[in-house]
């Protein structure tokens, strides 16, 4: 019956009270965060494949476009891009919804990073594979589709997994353009109740749980799957 015992109990009880009152709101925010995560991931995968392929093109114009895109989006900050999409595009008559602006900005930003990964992966496919496809008289398109692309997945998935975890963290930024996600809810609850430790602590924990127990295991599973597909189980 030391005073410390009471302290811990008091903290726990007040935290559970906090959870029972604000937990559902935070869960709603979490659902939105996951939505943003999924949409942005799909977009960034598509963009990185397209621009990764463009980056290794022999045509200087196509390659130049891809290089410009990648340098531009990697050279500026994601937050700046996000605000640009949300607050500046309306000046040009393109009004995006907050959710769309967030997904597009994150997808395009991470697409630029992903394109470099895809390019590295394609270049890392052994030269003999290229020569073999050439010897068999494959057209360039068929060579890419049938020989090269299936082999790049075990190479690009580990760095792409890191990038996807970064993307989950980046989704927090969409709260700043008024998307009602987990961060937004945490901020909102904080401004009402001033229970900063509880609401931001809970938000941090939820992000950690999503990343550690859902996203990362899923990405590891994909890596194993890809390695098995090309017969490289023992990586």
């Amino acid at each position: 019956m030391s005073p410390d015992f009471f302290l811990i109990e008091k903290v726990l009880v007040s935290y559970f009270a906090f959870l029972s009152e604000h937990g559902p709101t935070m869960l709603l925010g979490t659902v939105m965060t996951i939505k943003v995560l999924i949409c942005a991931t799909l977009l960034y995968v598509i963009i990185s494949i397209i621009f990764g392929l463009m980056r290794i093109s022999k045509n200087p114009i196509i390659q130049g476009i891809a290089t410009g895109y990648i340098e531009f989006f990697r050279g500026t900050s994601l937050l700046v891009q996000l605000f640009w999409f949300y607050y500046v595009l309306p000046f040009f008559g393109v009004s995006l919804e907050a959710f769309t602006a967030g997904v597009v900005a994150i997808g395009m930003n991470f697409g630029a990073y992903g394109a470099e990964i895809v390019r590295g992966g394609i270049l890392a496919v052994p030269k003999g594979q290229w020569e073999g496809a050439f010897a068999l008289n494959f057209t360039p398109a068929k060579r890419m589709r049938k020989i090269i692309i299936p082999q790049i997945f075990p190479i690009i998935l580990p760095p792409a997994a890191n990038l996807t975890v970064e993307l989950l963290k980046a989704t927090a930024l969409v709260a700043l353009v008024t998307v009602v996600d987990l961060t937004f809810e945490a901020k909102q609850i904080n401004s009402i109740t001033w229970l900063s430790a509880q609401c931001f602590g809970t938000a941090l924990l939820i992000y950690y749980i999503i990343s550690r127990f859902f996203l990362v295991p899923f990405l590891r599973w994909l890596e194993v799957l890809a390695a098995r597909k090309v017969g490289k189980d023992k990586i």
């Binding site: 640009w84 040009f92 963290k169 930024l173 602590g201 941090l204 950690y208």
Partner: protein, 228 residues
């Protein structure tokens, strides 16, 4: 709304933006300096022979690495005052950026140390060098070039994450742009200028880092390190 770019407005706000850019660069520099030290602390935690410390260290690093910097900023900024520690937004921002990127830098350091071949350690043991001497004269000079690309990337990374500091009220470039935009109700020029300023700073920085990387590798006589 009209999409016309107003040059007079651009030049009117340009001095303000350039001053704020100095703040951004300062924030990135201080944040990076803290991150380098924090990274070292995490590295030591990782390499101590005590299993429990290793485990705790790893969990802390994992936790910091997989949660958003934005919420960490809010956490430090709003929670510390409740425990009686009131810090300015600047200090909070620097601490958080230092902690966040320190975890990344500790991984870079670790990778660099592990990149030094084990035979080097064995040779030093055979020559009866002390541990400190081994680190100072044999291992660290070889680990340094391996660490440079990663360290450079995170310097640029910190620089690009400084706009987050504006959310807790640090008066850096992005904060200035938002303030100016709100005052004149024109966001086109300020935000575009922020993007351009970032571009003009980060692309030369990246090129400069690539050059240093090459120079150091040349000096070490291993230019043929292949990058995937």
């Amino acid at each position: 709304m009209n999409a016309e770019w107003r040059w007079d407005f651009t030049f009117e706000i340009l001095p303000k933006m350039l001053w704020a850019t100095l703040n951004t660069i300062m924030a990135a520099g201080i944040g990076y300096a803290i991150a380098m030290v924090v990274g070292l602390i995490f590295l030591i935690g990782q390499r101590t022979p005590f299993k429990i410390i290793n485990m705790i260290n790893r969990e802390i690093v994992e936790f910091i690495r997989s949660t958003p910097l934005l919420i960490q900023l809010f956490f430090v900024y709003f929670v510390l005052p409740q425990f009686g520690i009131t810090l300015s937004a600047w200090v909070c921002g620097m601490i958080t950026i230092g902690l966040h990127f320190g975890t990344y830098l500790s991984e870079v350091y670790r990778g660099a140390l592990e990149g030094v071949p084990k035979t080097q350690w064995e040779a030093c043991r055979a020559l009866n060098f002390s541990t400190i001497y081994t680190y100072r004269r044999i291992v660290l000079p070889q680990a340094f070039p391996i660490a440079i690309p990663g360290m450079g990337n995170y310097l640029v990374g910190i620089f690009k994450d400084t706009p987050l500091l504006s959310t807790i009220g640090v008066a850096e470039l992005f904060h200035a742009a938002t303030a100016v935009g709100g005052y004149h109700y024109r966001y086109l020029e300020p935000y575009t200028m922020v993007g351009l300023i970032f571009l003009t700073l980060s692309i030369p920085a990246a090129m400069w880092i690539r050059k240093i990387e090459k120079d150091v590798n040349l000096a070490q006589g291993k230019i043929k390190k292949e990058k995937v």
